[in-house]
């Protein structure tokens, strides 16, 4: 009986040539090629997306004219800007890291102060009494959440 088994095993082994083993292993590796290509491609696209992440810029405009702008994407720390016009109206603007807010103003309704911080493209702070508008735009000018354009 053991002898019979040995013959059987021999018959199978004799069939196999060295090329077969190489081929089969190669095919198994080859079958994972699409997965590798896809993950490589995915990695590439994420890299590309990281490198051209939108640059956000905050514009402070009075009556349509830009009076101050700051690059929010690269901004670090705290900086201040105060807008004053001839009539004594003022708005104190504070930029903290990637967000911008109006901290103090002498307009009557204080809506700009109550609005708080904004940091996303398309967001705006409006002070109608002073005709002042703060808006955030991404680099190519598209504002993603921009339902409201004052």
């Amino acid at each position: 009986m053991p002898m019979f088994k040995k013959i059987c095993a021999n018959r199978y082994i004799k069939m196999i040539r060295p090329g077969d083993i190489i081929i089969v292993i190669g095919l198994f590796i080859l079958s994972f090629a699409p997965v590798a290509v896809f993950s490589w491609h995915e990695w590439q696209t994420t890299q590309a997306a990281d490198s051209n992440a939108p640059v956000l810029t905050a514009y402070v405009k009075h009556d349509g004219k830009i009076v101050y702008k700051v690059n929010l994407s690269t901004h670090r720390g705290v900086s201040h800007f105060t807008y004053r016009d001839a009539g004594g109206d003022y708005n104190k603007i504070k930029v903290i890291d990637h967000a911008i807010e109006v901290t103090e103003a002498n307009c009557f309704n204080q809506i700009d102060v109550k609005r708080g911080k904004i940091s996303k493209p398309g967001q705006t702070i409006v002070c109608l009494p002073h005709k002042l508008l703060i808006e955030i735009k991404s680099k190519d000018g598209t504002d993603t959440g921009g339902m409201v354009s004052a």
Binding site: I23, V24, L27, F28, A33, V35
Partner: protein
């Protein structure tokens, strides 16, 4: 001369009929692996292997196309026909190339394993063309694993056939001369 020609056509017709029967029977087997819908054993690949070793390449191609069309007509739909035609063409080309470049180095086992994998590649290419997304190809490893195993089994079976069926042995000898 004519006698030889007739003999060859009868042989092709016989192989074709056997291939169709094999694929019909195979379709009747309920597939046990629920993880991989679309995977099949590819037993009809056995016929392609036998023809490759006993007939000239253009006759093999004719046989392969006839077999695919007829088995689709007898028990398939248009979509299965497209899948299996693409798969069969891919695996046929792959097997021909492998057979050319490997006189003694690769046996039928390697050739039919390659055929099994390439069948699945062709199938998935058609599927991804239909679905218009290359994501479908990510399914390849699952199918290919089963396809390669089935290919190895088919290769072993072909080896046994050539060892034990005298007609095939002599035809193979004639072909190799």
């Amino acid at each position: 001369m004519t006698n030889n020609q007739t003999r060859k056509y009868i042989y092709i017709a016989l192989l074709c009929a056997q291939g169709i029967i094999i694929s019909l029977v195979e379709r009747a087997i309920p597939f046990p692996f629920a993880v991989a819908p679309g995977a099949k054993l590819g037993l009809a690949n056995l016929i392609t292997i036998i023809s490759l070793f006993t007939l000239p390449v253009n006759d093999c191609f004719l046989l392969m196309v006839m077999r695919t069309i007829l088995s689709a007509l007898l028990g398939g739909t248009l979509s299965t026909f497209m899948y299996s035609l693409a798969g069969a063409t891919f695996s046929f080309l792959g097997m021909v190339v492998l057979k050319r470049f490997s006189r003694r180095f690769i046996s039928m086992i390697g050739i039919s394993a390659a055929g099994g994998l390439l069948f699945n590649v062709g199938q998935l290419c058609v599927a991804s063309f239909i679905a218009q997304s290359w994501q479908v190809l990510l399914y390849l490893p699952v199918l290919a694993f089963l396809g390669i195993l089935a290919g190895i089994a088919v290769g072993i079976a072909a080896n046994f056939l050539f060892a034990h069926v005298k007609t095939l042995t002599s035809l193979k000898m004639q072909h190799e001369i």
